[in-house]
């Protein structure tokens, strides 16, 4: 015959156990963890006020200053202001040394036409061709 169980008939006793003195020690361990949590929170707050907050302020100031500078440079000039600035060399600055270098390089470059003439003369001399004869034929 099948056993019919009614759970209300079963003894309601606690079958689980804990290590010796567990409940005496638990409040102490919770207290210890609580203190650690407090210290960690306090440390985070200290860290913020001592280091992170000043760093953050410095970064904000730096970024602010940089953006302010950029805005000033990007300011729109009127045509009149632009002309005035160019005339007074306020916007266009020439590097005089660079200009001199470019000039001397150009001056020292051998003339292509001159080279050609010299080559022709050399050719005529080497081949004993009489210049007067050529002139007559022309």
């Amino acid at each position: 015959m099948e056993n019919k169980y009614n759970i209300e008939d079963l003894k309601k006793e606690n079958q689980f156990a804990v290590p010796t003195s567990y409940f005496e020690e638990l409040p102490l361990r919770i207290n210890q963890r609580k203190t650690n949590t407090n210290n960690r929170t306090l440390f985070s707050a200290k860290l913020w006020y001592k280091f992170l907050a000043p760093t953050f302020v410095v970064i904000v100031l730096f970024v602010g200053y940089f953006m302010y500078q950029n805005n000033e440079n990007d300011a729109v000039l009127t045509n009149q202001q632009l002309s005035k600035n160019i005339i007074n060399h306020e916007l266009v600055e020439f590097d005089e040394e660079l200009i001199y270098e470019v000039y001397t390089e150009t001056a020292n470059t051998p003339n292509a036409n001159a080279t050609q003439d010299e080559e022709i003369i050399d050719y005529l001399i080497n081949d004993n061709i009489n210049i007067n004869q050529i002139t007559e034929e022309l």
Binding site: E2, N3, K4, Y5, N6, I7, L10, K11, K12, E13, N14, Q15, F16, A17, V18, P19, Y22, F23, L26, P27, R29, I30, N31, R33, K34, T37
Partner: protein, 182 residues
Amino acid sequence: MDNNNDIKLIALFRDENSRNYAFDLIVKQYQQRIYWHVRRMVINHDDADDVVQNTFIKAWKGLPNFKQESKLYTWLYTIATNECLTFLNKKRKIFFIPLHDVEQELSNQLESDEFYNGDEIQLKLQKAILTLPEKQRLVFNMKYYDEMKYEEMAEVLSTSVGALKASYHIAVKKIETFLTQD
């Protein structure tokens, strides 16, 4: 639970000079009931120990904002219940265990647990309880072992009294069927 005592404890806690003392009293007063509730859910003592400690640490952090709309015990019980469910979910995710296998694993743990001294029928009862879905297991434990009122359970589990009564009734039937089968 003595509500006047809770009110005194909270008042002590609100005073910064006696906060630590008051919290120590709260822990001492409720640690056992919270522990057994947690232990029945997570089965293993070490896991229960972790969950209970987390529960009281959360209580320590949350008590300054406790509005006394519920009893202190109900409030602690709610934290403990949430911690249990979080723990079991983590266990599933960490070990990639399917939903129904966690309870099977807990059932196996029970047999080899050095801190479990139930007789054969009690072990069978625990195994039967572990076949229930998580929420139903909570409802059964709260009603059967902790003898909580349905109204208090409704507060903890944010469910209607009617649903809880139905859930408990179904749980009892399932357990009785399990015990009868083998």
